[in-house]
C-alpha cells in the first residue's frame, strides 16, 4: 500500500514538473490539489465534520462544501457551462463527499477542455472579466487556500493531513502541514 502511494505521488509530481506548457502545468497542479482535497474529505471521520476550532465560524463540513460550490463557479467560468451542486445544503458526510466528487468531475471536464490555443479566451468569473486559464488557475489557488485551513483542522483532531501522510519520504523530514 505504501509502495502504491509512493508511485502515485511520484507520478503526480512528475506530471507537474515535467509538463511542457503552462496549461499542462496547470492541469498537473489541479490533479495534485483535487487529490488532497478529496482525501481530506474522505478521511475525516463522519463525527468530525461538525468540528470547528474555537473562534472559527466554519465547520470542517463548511470548508468542504465551500470548495465544492466554488469548483462549480470557477470551473463553470472556465468551461462556459454553469451548473450547481448546492453542496452547502448538504449535511451528511456521504452527501457532502458526493457533492465534492461531482464538482471535481465537473472541473475535470473543464481542465480537459483547456488548451494552449484557448487559454486566453475571455470569460466572466463572478461578474469580472477573466481568461479561461485565469478562472481555472484561480480554482487551484483557492483550493490550496482552503486546504491550508483543512490541514489545521486535521492537526487539531490529531490526524496527519493527506499531503503529509502520503508524501514519499525524500531527504528526511516531513513538512508540518
Amino acid at each position: 500500500m505504501k509502495t502504491a502511494t509512493f508511485f502515485i505521488a511520484a507520478a503526480l509530481s512528475a506530471s507537474v514538473m515535467q509538463a511542457q506548457s503552462m496549461t499542462a502545468e496547470l492541469k498537473g497542479q489541479w490533479e495534485d490539489i483535487k487529490a488532497n482535497v478529496l482525501k481530506a474529505a474522505e478521511r475525516m471521520p463522519d463525527a468530525d465534520f461538525k468540528f470547528k476550532p474555537e473562534g472559527e465560524p466554519r465547520t470542517f463540513a463548511d470548508l468542504i462544501t465551500h470548495v465544492a460550490d466554488a469548483h462549480m463557479g470557477m470551473c463553470g467560468a472556465g468551461s462556459g457551462e454553469m451548473k450547481k451542486v448546492e453542496a452547502a445544503a448538504k449535511t451528511t458526510k456521504a452527501d457532502i463527499v458526493a457533492a465534492l466528487k461531482e464538482s471535481i468531475a465537473f472541473c475535470d471536464a473543464a481542465y480537459a477542455g483547456l488548451t494552449d490555443g484557448n487559454a486566453t479566451s475571455a470569460v466572466k468569473m463572478f461578474g469580472r472579466d477573466a481568461t479561461k486559464f485565469g478562472a481555472l488557475n484561480m480554482n487551484v489557488i483557492h483550493d490550496n487556500e482552503v486546504y491550508g485551513s483543512m490541514a489545521v483542522y486535521y492537526r487539531l483532531k490529531s490526524i496527519v493531513p493527506p499531503s503529509t501522510a502520503d508524501r514519499p519520504a525524500m531527504g528526511g523530514g516531513k513538512k508540518k502541514q
Binding site: 514538473m17 515535467q18 509538463a19 506548457s21 503552462m22 502545468e25 496547470l26 497542479q29 476550532p53 474555537e54 473562534g55 472559527e56 465560524p57 487559454a119 486566453t120 477573466a130 481568461t131 486559464f133 485565469g134 488557475n137 484561480m138 487551484v140 489557488i141 483557492h142 490550496n144 487556500e145 482552503v146 486546504y147 491550508g148 485551513s149 483543512m150 490541514a151 489545521v152 483542522y153 492537526r155 487539531l156 490529531s158 508540518k176 502541514q177
Partner: protein
C-alpha cells in the same frame, strides 16, 4: 501643473490597460499575487507580537513559523524565476518586527518580476525546485498558490485568537453601513 499630472496619469493608466490587454495571463497572475500578498502581510501585521509563538496544536508551526515560511518560499520561487540563488530572509528571525521585515524584503524582491512579466516572457523555461525545468509563469504562479495555502493555514490561527482574517474584513462599501 495639474493638467500635466492628469495627462501623465491618463498615459500611465492607458499603458497599464494596454499591458493587461496584450498580456492577459500575466496581468491576471499579478492581480492574484497582489491580493494574496496583501492578505499575508495584513495577517502578519494583525497578529499581536505576543501571539507570534502561538500554535493551535504541538504538531504545527507557530504563527511566526508560518510568516517565516511564506517569506522563505516567496524568496525561493522568485529567485528561481530570476535565475538567482535564493537566500532565506527569515532565517533565525522570530520577532514580529523582524519577520514582517523579512516578508517585506521577499515581496520587494518579487514585485518587479510580476510587474514586468509578459505572456511571451512567461513561457520561458527556468530551473526550479532542485533543477527541474518549469516555465517562468509556473514558478511565479507556484509562489501565489503556496502563499495562498499558507494564508489558509494562518486563518484558523487568527480566528482562534479572535482576529478577523484580512480576506474576511468588511469591504469599504460595507464599512459605511
Amino acid at each position: 501643473m495639474k493638467k500635466q499630472f492628469v495627462l501623465l496619469m491618463m498615459v500611465v493608466a492607458g499603458a497599464a490597460g494596454l499591458q493587461a490587454q496584450n498580456n492577459p495571463l500575466s496581468a491576471e497572475l499579478k492581480r492574484f499575487y497582489d491580493g494574496n500578498k496583501t492578505n499575508i502581510m495584513r495577517s502578519a501585521e494583525k497578529m499581536p507580537e505576543a501571539e507570534y509563538s502561538f500554535k493551535p496544536v504541538d504538531t504545527v508551526r507557530p504563527f511566526s513559523g508560518e510568516v517565516g515560511h511564506a517569506a522563505e518560499w516567496a524568496m525561493n520561487t522568485c529567485a528561481w524565476a530570476k535565475g538567482e540563488t535564493p537566500v532565506n530572509p527569515a532565517a533565525g528571525k522570530t520577532s514580529k518586527a523582524d519577520l514582517i521585515a523579512a516578508l517585506k524584503q521577499a515581496f520587494d524582491y518579487c514585485d518587479p518580476l510580476y510587474n514586468s512579466l509578459t505572456d511571451a516572457d512567461a513561457t520561458k523555461m527556468v530551473k526550479a525546485m532542485g533543477g527541474r525545468d518549469m516555465t517562468k509563469f509556473s514558478v511565479l504562479w507556484f509562489n501565489v498558490m503556496h502563499n495562498n495555502e499558507t494564508y489558509g493555514t494562518m486563518v484558523p490561527y487568527l480566528r482562534i485568537k479572535g482576529i478577523v482574517p484580512p480576506s474576511s474584513e468588511p469591504r469599504p462599501a460595507e464599512k459605511k453601513q
